[in-house]
């Protein structure tokens, strides 16, 4: 079986565009990237099977039938991609609802550890009795979600700035 060059090129373009979008900060663009990648993968699955007439006994000779299995697999994959698209859309809407943007944010805890390392302090050393002054505590003794939110937002905003500059 010889693969069709047009298909291969289209798959390549879809993958390239999908990966580029996947690297964006905005979840909506990531979603577009996932959709393009999904379509590319589906097309790749299709090219794996033999082309031919409809695979229905009685309408086509057995020798001229297309391979029905990749089509069945693509149908399954399309359904899964559809579900995932809906879920990602919900995520990005919820993120917009909570933060006013849908940007993928950095790992907050990770940055906290990096800050500790910069100040050359280990986590949980014996100065723990005085909580860090820059961590506001609410009465439960949990870190104030607002302070984390603002730091996360500033991280995301900074990243957004970088993205726009470039």
């Amino acid at each position: 079986m010889t693969p069709n060059l047009t298909y291969i090129v289209v798959v390549g373009v879809l993958f390239a565009a999908g990966v580029t979008l996947l690297l964006e900060r905005s979840l909506t663009r990531v979603l577009m990237g996932v959709i393009l990648l999904g379509n590319g993968a589906n097309l790749l699955l299709l090219t794996g099977g033999r082309a031919g007439g409809p695979p229905i006994v009685g309408t086509t000779d057995a020798g001229e039938m297309s391979d029905p299995l990749p089509q069945a697999m693509v149908l399954t994959a399309i359904v899964i991609t559809l579900g995932m698209t809906a879920f990602l859309l919900a995520l990005s809407y919820r993120s917009w609802h909570l933060n006013g943007h849908d940007e993928v944010q950095d790992d907050v805890e990770d940055r906290r550890i990096m800050d500790l390392a910069d100040r050359d302090e280990g986590p949980g050393t014996d100065d723990a009795d005085q909580p860090d002054s820059d961590d506001q505590l609410d009465p439960d003794g949990r870190p104030d979600p607002d302070s984390r939110r603002s730091s996360a937002a500033s991280v995301a905003a900074a990243a957004g700035e970088r993205g726009r500059d470039a």
């Binding site: 790749l44 990602l88 995520l91």
Partner: protein, 526 residues
């Protein structure tokens, strides 16, 4: 007995449908979930016994003959994984019910929790039983979609942030897997694992390497192997404690299972063995160094989870019978122990109001039972004799020494160092959270009966309510499953001999390949 094979997939799915219908009746939901998962444990245990006596059990779904239809295969490896994961999911379910009840409002866990949890179980079981590459993909998707929902339960801000990363990374790995499936199909014309054995052997070497690499990449992301592991500690710790526990125990191990299956059945001969060994060493060391730097118990445990995936890859990479047997033993041990530790971390969060090490202290005096529940599995994880963690590592080290290659020796040294650093990380948690003075901001101890002032009158405390929740007495339904898992972990030590024999049998069957193929195609491969 073959009719039992699809039940671990079918029962949780039917249970999920039923619990969805019963969304407004939490009590009925709980009973349905408990019944279904208990039955799954029983079925899985029966499958394990039958498959070790009669060899792999095969079911052709819908009666379609093998290469046309999908087969479910329960060989010893799959059955062993099923038993352990079913037992662990059951314990975690009881724990989450206990947590929901203790929080004082009947509808947490939310009504969507039970159906999703059962779907997750079905996905895990489907992935273990699948005898077809595309069905394996479907199994992965089922468990991943359920995990997306569980991870973002309640859709609070931190969970949305963590969930976004998790969902996007998982989607990417699924797409890579799908592309790999497309390539395998166009190269061989089949996706049935048993039929692929011969057809892949007939392919040119470089083409086989491409297919193997694609599959390894996809499974490596799911198993959180080092360069592909950064998503895990970012996302897992934000979920509710029982969810994190079941994810840590099962999801990465499904990836490891898929690696074991494809490396032994589809691509034997160890062409990527060196790559696997290098990656295993990096996973162990980078993971455990990450754990040492953490200041939060849940995150620290997430890093030890990554690190110990390295041990399993070590066994797979050796591709000797002993190495594979030790890896299988280690997977069983690690599923149990890592889940127990995350459940214990959930109890710490409940008692201490936080899992941040600098806000905890003195838990050993405040709650001795909790201290024991953390201490035993922690030592087990670090590999202190005579626990199962020690026996698993001993098997791996022995296999590494038997191999005798320079890389194997590096791995042996790396494994011992990782074990030592695990002990260090665990000891740090113990010192900071369980010894020291109690932290001034920790909630008041409420383990014993005490009084509260209501309307100016001292009254005995009437059980936990929402406001008292952080320091509230640890509910029995949360303690009991944790104790059960600790005992199960100790039980692995007691039955280590027979269990290791079982792993060795499973490993031999995997390496010989013929038992699997002959079970699916008794009359020879078409």
């Amino acid at each position: 007995m073959n009719y039992l094979v699809p039940l671990p997939v079918v029962m949780p799915l039917l249970g999920a449908a039923l619990t969805l219908l019963l969304a407004s009746r939490p009590r009925a939901q709980r009973w349905v979930s408990l019944t279904v998962l208990t039955a799954t444990v029983a079925v899985a245990a029966t499958l394990l016994v039958r498959s070790s006596i009669d060899g792999p059990l095969v079911v052709e779904v819908g009666g379609w003959v093998a290469p046309l239809g999908i087969v479910l295969v329960a060989d010893q490896l799959a059955a062993l994984m099923l038993v352990v994961s079913a037992a662990v999911t059951l314990c975690v379910l009881v724990y989450s019910i206990g947590q929901g009840m203790a929080d004082g409002h009947e509808d947490t866990p939310l009504s969507v929790y039970h159906p999703t949890y059962l779907v997750l179980t079905a996905g895990v079981c489907n992935a273990f039983l699948s005898g077809d590459l595309f069905n394996l993909y479907v199994g992965f998707e089922i468990l991943l979609v359920a995990s997306y929902v569980l991870l973002t339960l309640g859709s609070t801000e931190t969970r949305i942030r963590a969930g976004t990363t998790y969902v996007v990374v998982s989607l990417l790995s699924s797409l890579i897997f799908l592309v790999a499936i497309g390539l395998v199909y166009s190269a061989t014309g089949t996706l049935n694992l048993a039929q692929l054995v011969d057809r892949l052997d007939a392919l040119p070497d470089d083409l086989r390497l491409v297919l193997q690499g694609m599959l390894l990449l996809a499974f490596g992301i799911k198993a959180a192997v080092f360069p592909l592991s950064a998503w895990l500690p970012d996302s897992y710790p934000t979920a509710p404690a029982p969810v994190t526990a079941v994810f840590a125990g099962l999801l990465t191990k499904v990836g490891v299972y898929a690696i074991i299956r494809t490396e032994t059945l589809l691509f034997p001969g160890g062409r990527t063995a060196d790559l696997l060994l290098v990656v295993a060493a990096l996973t162990m060391l980078v993971g455990i160094l990450g754990a040492v730097a953490q200041s939060d118990i849940k995150r620290l445990l997430s890093f030890t989870l990554i690190s110990h995936i390295g041990y399993m890859l070590f066994g797979v990479g050796l591709s000797s019978s002993l190495g594979l047997a030790a890896a299988i033993f280690y997977v069983v041990h690690h599923i149990t122990i890592q889940t127990t530790l995350f459940l214990a971390a959930g109890l710490v969060e409940r008692r201490g109001g936080s899992t941040a090490l600098d806000r905890l202290g003195g838990l050993a005096r405040l709650s001795p039972l909790l201290a024991v529940l953390f201490f035993v599995p922690a030592l087990n994880l670090a590999g202190i004799p005579p626990f199962s963690g020690f026996l698993g590592k001993l098997g791996l080290v022995q296999a590494g020494v038997d191999d005798g290659g320079p890389l194997a020796w590096v791995l042996v040294a790396g494994g011992l160092l990782t074990s030592l650093l695990t002990l260090y990380a665990i000891a740090r948690v113990w010192n900071l959270a369980f010894w020291r003075r109690p932290h001034p901001e920790m909630p008041e101890p409420q383990d014993s009966v005490h009084t509260v002032r209501t309307d100016g009158v001292e009254q005995p405390y009437r059980g936990p309510d929402r406001d008292a929740h952080p320091g509230a007495m640890l509910p029995r339904l949360m303690i009991a499953p944790t104790v059960a898992l600790v005992v199960l972990g100790l039980g692995l030590t007691v039955v280590a001999g027979p269990l290791f024999d079982l792993s060795s049998d499973a490993a031999d069957d995997l390496l010989r390949r013929t038992p699997y193929v002959e079970a699916v195609y008794p009359g020879g491969t078409p």
